[in-house]
Amino acid sequence: MTSYLRIDHVDKNFIRGGAETKVLSDVSLSVEKGQFVSIIGHSGCGKTTLLNIVAGLTRASTGGVLLENREVNDPGPDRAVVFQNHSLLPWLTVYDNVRLAVDKVHRSTKSRSERHAWTLHNLDLVQMTHAKDKRPAEISGGMKQRVGIARALAMEPKVLLLDEPFGALDALTRAHLQDSVMALHQKLGNTVLMITHDVDEAVLLSDRIVMMTNGPAAQIGEILDVPLVRPRKRLELAGNTTYLKCRQRVLEFLYERHRFVEAA
C-alpha cells in the first residue's frame, strides 16, 4: 500500500523520573495527496504529540512516518507547521518573518528578486500585504495566524501541518480564517493535516476526520469520510443533511463513547 503520507504503527512513550507514560498507542493513518485531514479529540489525548511526530519535532518511540515512501525523522520545510500560537519572531517585520523562510528554503532555486516576489505573493494569498512592514506585536491575533500560514505556504510544503491554528481566536475571526484556509486549499491543492477540537471546524474543512480516543495510550477510534462537495459554503451547509449527519457522528464519538474524563 502506497500513500502520500503514511503514519505507520506509531507508539509514543514519555519517560519522566523513571515513570513511563504511554501517550500514543499503535497509530496508523494514510493521507492521500491533496487531502484535508483533521485529527480531533479531547485535550490531552496526544493530538499535538502526533502532529509533532509527523513534523519531526518529536521522535516516535516505535513505528515511523513515511512521506512519499521515504521515512522522515527530522523536522524540515517539506512538512511546514502553522503553530497554535503563531510563533512569529517578534523582532522581525511581517515581511521579514516570511522572507526568512523563503530565503532559507528557496535560496538555491530562486533569485533574489524572485524570492522577494514570492514573499509578497504569499502575503497576498493571505491578504496581509497591507501590514508587511508591521511587527507581530502591532497586528491582531487573526492577522498573526495569517502570517504564520503565509510563512508555511511559502515553504511549498508537501504536507501542511496545522496545530489548532484557530484555537486562540474569537468566533468571527475564526470563521473568517477558516474560509480563507478553505479557499487556499481549493486554490493550491495542498495536503493538509490539521489538529482541532472544534467539531464544526473539522466537518467544514476536512475530507476525512480522524477521531482519537482519550489518553493515556490514545488510539485512532474512528475515521469518518466527509463526502461534501467543494467548494463548501458555510451558510448552505447549515441545513445540509450530510453535514449534519457527519457532525452528529463526531459529536456522538466525542461526547458519548469517549467522554472526556476529568483528571483526578
Binding site: 523536522p75 517578534p90 523582532w91 511587527r135 515553504m155 468571527l172 473568517h176 472544534d198
Partner: protein, 298 residues
C-alpha cells in the same frame, strides 16, 4: 458550536471602519500652543526637582564645611581651587601633568579595550553555557566562585603575569565585567522559547544562522542587561586599578591629588567620574533600547 449559523459577512463588513480608525491614529497631531505648553511643563516637572535637591545639598555642604576646623573644603572653595582645571581640561605639560580630559580619555580607552574584550568573550561563553548542558554543569560552579573575587584582588596576579601596568589594568576591567555578561547571556539563551526553536528546526537553520537569527535577537534583552551591569563594574574597577598602577588616568589623578593634599581636585575628579559613569550607562541603555525594540513584546 454554532459555527454554521455564524455569518461571515459581518466580519468582512467590519473591516473598512477598522482601516479608517487606523488612518486617523497615524495622522500626525497638529502643533498647538497648548501642546507646547504641556511638553514644556513635562520637562520642567522632570528638571526642577533634581535642580532644587542639588542646590540644597550644595547649600548644606557649604554651611557644614565653612565652619572652623572643617576637614573638607566647601563647594565655593573647590571651584576657586580647581578653576584652572575646569576651564582648561586640554592642557598638556608633558609627563603626568595633563588636563582632566586626557586623564579621562586614558581611563576610557582602557575601559573600552577591556570591556570590548569582555563583551565578545562573555557573549560567546554565555552562549556556550546557555546552549550546552554539559558546559553549564562544568563551567557554572567555576563562574559562580570567580565572580565573587573583588576586582583589585586580580591586580597583583595580572601584574605578575603581564609585568606591565597597561595590560594589567585592561585585564582587571575584563575580568570584572565579564561575569554578569556571561551569566545574563546564558540565562537569555536558556530562556529562548521552544516555539522559536521549533521554527528554526522546521526551517532547518544551521547553527550559525540559528545563532544570528534566533539566539542573539531573542536573548538580546538579557545580554544587554549583562552588558549594562558590566559597563558599570568596569568603570568602578578602572578608578581603583589606576590608583595602584599609576600612569595617566583619572584614578591616578585622584591618588596623585591625595598625595599632594589637593582635596578640591579630588572632589572635582569625583564629579567627572560620576558623570562619565552615568553617561556610559546611558549609552549602553540607549543601544539596548534601539537593538531590542520589538523583542520584548511578543
Amino acid at each position: 458550536m454554532n459555527m454554521p449559523a455564524v455569518n461571515p459577512q459581518p466580519a468582512r463588513a467590519i473591516e473598512p471602519p477598522i482601516g479608517k480608525v487606523l488612518r486617523l491614529q497615524s495622522q500626525r497631531p497638529k502643533f498647538s500652543l497648548s501642546r507646547a505648553a504641556a511638553i514644556g511643563g513635562d520637562i520642567a516637572a522632570r528638571v526642577i526637582p533634581p535642580m532644587i535637591v542639588i542646590a540644597l545639598i550644595v547649600l548644606v555642604w557649604e554651611v557644614l564645611c565653612r565652619r572652623q576646623g572643617a576637614t573638607l573644603p566647601p563647594p565655593s572653595r573647590v571651584i576657586a581651587d580647581t578653576w584652572d582645571l575646569i576651564t582648561d581640561p586640554f592642557f598638556d605639560n608633558g609627563g603626568l601633568d595633563k588636563g582632566l580630559f586626557w586623564h579621562l580619555s586614558a581611563s576610557l580607552q582602557r575601559v573600552a579595550q577591556g570591556y570590548a574584550l569582555a563583551s565578545i568573550v562573555g557573549v560567546a561563553l554565555g552562549t556556550l553555557v546557555g546552549q550546552s548542558t554539559w558546559a553549564m554543569r562544568g563551567l557554572d560552579p567555576i563562574f559562580q566562585v570567580l565572580r565573587t573575587v573583588p576586582p583589585l584582588a586580580w591586580l597583583p596576579l595580572s601584574l605578575a603575569a603581564f609585568r606591565d601596568g597597561q595590560p594589567s589594568a585592561i585585564f582587571v576591567i575584563f575580568i570584572t565585567s565579564i561575569w554578569p555578561i556571561i551569566i545574563n547571556t546564558a540565562v537569555g539563551i536558556r530562556n529562548i522559547p521552544q516555539d522559536y526553536r521549533n521554527v528554526a528546526a522546521v526551517l532547518r537553520l544551521n547553527p550559525l544562522e540559528f545563532f544570528w537569527k534566533i539566539m542573539i535577537p531573542s536573548a538580546a534583552p538579557y545580554i544587554f542587561t549583562g552588558l549594562r551591569i558590566g559597563i558599570g563594574l568596569s568603570w568602578l574597577a578602572i578608578v581603583a586599578a589606576e590608583m595602584l598602577i599609576g600612569g595617566v588616568g583619572i584614578g591616578f589623578f585622584i591618588w596623585d591629588a591625595w598625595n599632594s593634599s589637593h582635596i578640591s581636585e579630588i572632589m572635582l575628579a569625583l564629579v567627572y567620574v560620576g558623570i562619565v559613569g552615568f553617561v556610559l550607562d546611558r549609552i549602553v541603555a540607549g543601544i539596548a533600547h534601539v537593538v531590542t525594540r520589538g523583542t520584548a513584546a511578543s
